[in-house]
Homo-oligomer: 322 residues x 2
Amino acid sequence: MKILITGGGGFLGFKLARALLARGTLDGQSIAGITLLDGAFPAQLPQDARLKAVTGDVSDPKVIAGVCAADTAAVFHLAAVVSGAAEADFDLGMRVNLKGSKLLLEHLRKCAQPPKLVFTSSVAAFGGDLPPVLDDRTIATPQTSYGTQKVIGEYLVNDYSRKGFIDGRSLRLPTIVVRAGKPNAAASSFASGIIREPLNGVVSECPVGLDTGVWLLSPRRVIEAFIHACELPASAWAPGRVVNLPGITRSVAQMVEALKKVAGAKAAARVVYKGEARIQAIVRTWPVQFETPRALAMGFRADADLETLIRDYIADEHILVA
Amino acid sequence: MKILITGGGGFLGFKLARALLARGTLDGQSIAGITLLDGAFPAQLPQDARLKAVTGDVSDPKVIAGVCAADTAAVFHLAAVVSGAAEADFDLGMRVNLKGSKLLLEHLRKCAQPPKLVFTSSVAAFGGDLPPVLDDRTIATPQTSYGTQKVIGEYLVNDYSRKGFIDGRSLRLPTIVVRAGKPNAAASSFASGIIREPLNGVVSECPVGLDTGVWLLSPRRVIEAFIHACELPASAWAPGRVVNLPGITRSVAQMVEALKKVAGAKAAARVVYKGEARIQAIVRTWPVQFETPRALAMGFRADADLETLIRDYIADEHILVA
């Protein structure tokens, strides 16, 4: 089978590609090829004949036409302008997150068989005046352009699936912790930064207070979720194609405490508070606590605890703890 | 002030224009001009120097650029491909209902002052596995492309308002009964047809059963709602820019009974049942009962009863009861 990963040069897209190559199969079929689409790629791509990297913009019709082969069987649509950037540049967010997703859906309609599509939505679908604990019946009320564009993507994926053009599945991702690499323009960037930078011996300036709660999921669990979402039969998705993924709620203080347990007090002391009103304003609108009975019944899993999550990160990214 | 009405040649758009001209003011300001945009217009437009009719497609950038004057202060966006047509021709619905709305929003962003925008959404935002009584906390789960496109429009209106580009207000309209004129491609067309055609001495074939419930609102009340929605201050719309309008729930049997009381048994006998699976399949997914505390608190009103609604229709449309 042929697979397309948009945002395939990003942290999660690239990790997903490696996981798929290691597995060798998806949905019971042998993987013949994986096309990664992104604006840029890490210097070192795995040497694997099945892997093809295409550099281009997801909102460019020619680029999308080029990567949507007629026999594409599964697509993971991860490409997006992140929350902070989509808020700072409205037109950019609309172009990549909305026009790009719509273009992709239109091209996938032309495939020989309706391909499975896993669409990465976000906890940013929720915001504003929220109940203390959100659940599967909470209305999506995004308070950012990023969240709005993700929710619109969900509705499109749902309707294209209902029409039989694709077989779509949208996952509302918690904040992914720990992301490897550099800080990015996501307003949630700090949640990985306060663990990643101290482990690298670098000070991390935390823009939000110690009591700030984060609804989070590890890279391991989210890659599992992508693959599981794709392999579930369409019938498992009734009545709708979107699900809130499970996660765990932890405060910044708890994250620093877990870091201390795993890597010592010296590492934990590298987290310093430096309030940033712009980030606080966005993060304040995000939900912190969820019940996710639907996702759990569908077989999606949360992390067991924060210390394991940090240790997994150290192992997966070959971190030499500073 | 300058006003734009998209779908201004349609039943509601045209009625709204006449109501505004008769009022002379909107939002406390004198109405200097009303531009009606539509694909076609009734033969007889009122002779009024303030009124301008533009024939064109809402999804054509040049047309939209031409009707969005920089000093446009209020817009009523009624233009849409109706439910049955958007389901039969997916691309047409996406072009007019989604691309058209987005184009309009983009052009309104360029106005000197953020214009007020009243967007007509629909009860078709809801569908599928619904509670017996819907309320302001019910998630939008459209089961048609029309409903999906309307919900996406709501999210866009909300985000463009949040960003301060426009000052938008989305109304989820019940089925409007009685619409004047001819049957249209809306799956709800029968709800007006079973009253309108018998009053004209014509047999009306009802495609759904006698026990089918309809959540409905009269043309008088909806025109009131458009104007009220526009005149409410932005603060009245917190926390979000969309509201379920009030309505009343009546079965086909109750509608025929009210017709009998107003126009006699001979008129009522002109309603004959002729089941139509395609219409039933769409209508079956629509909600029938609502509680609308938010709309009522905001000052929106439902109809008192069905007989008054039919008598108002006869008076407003100068019907000579057959």
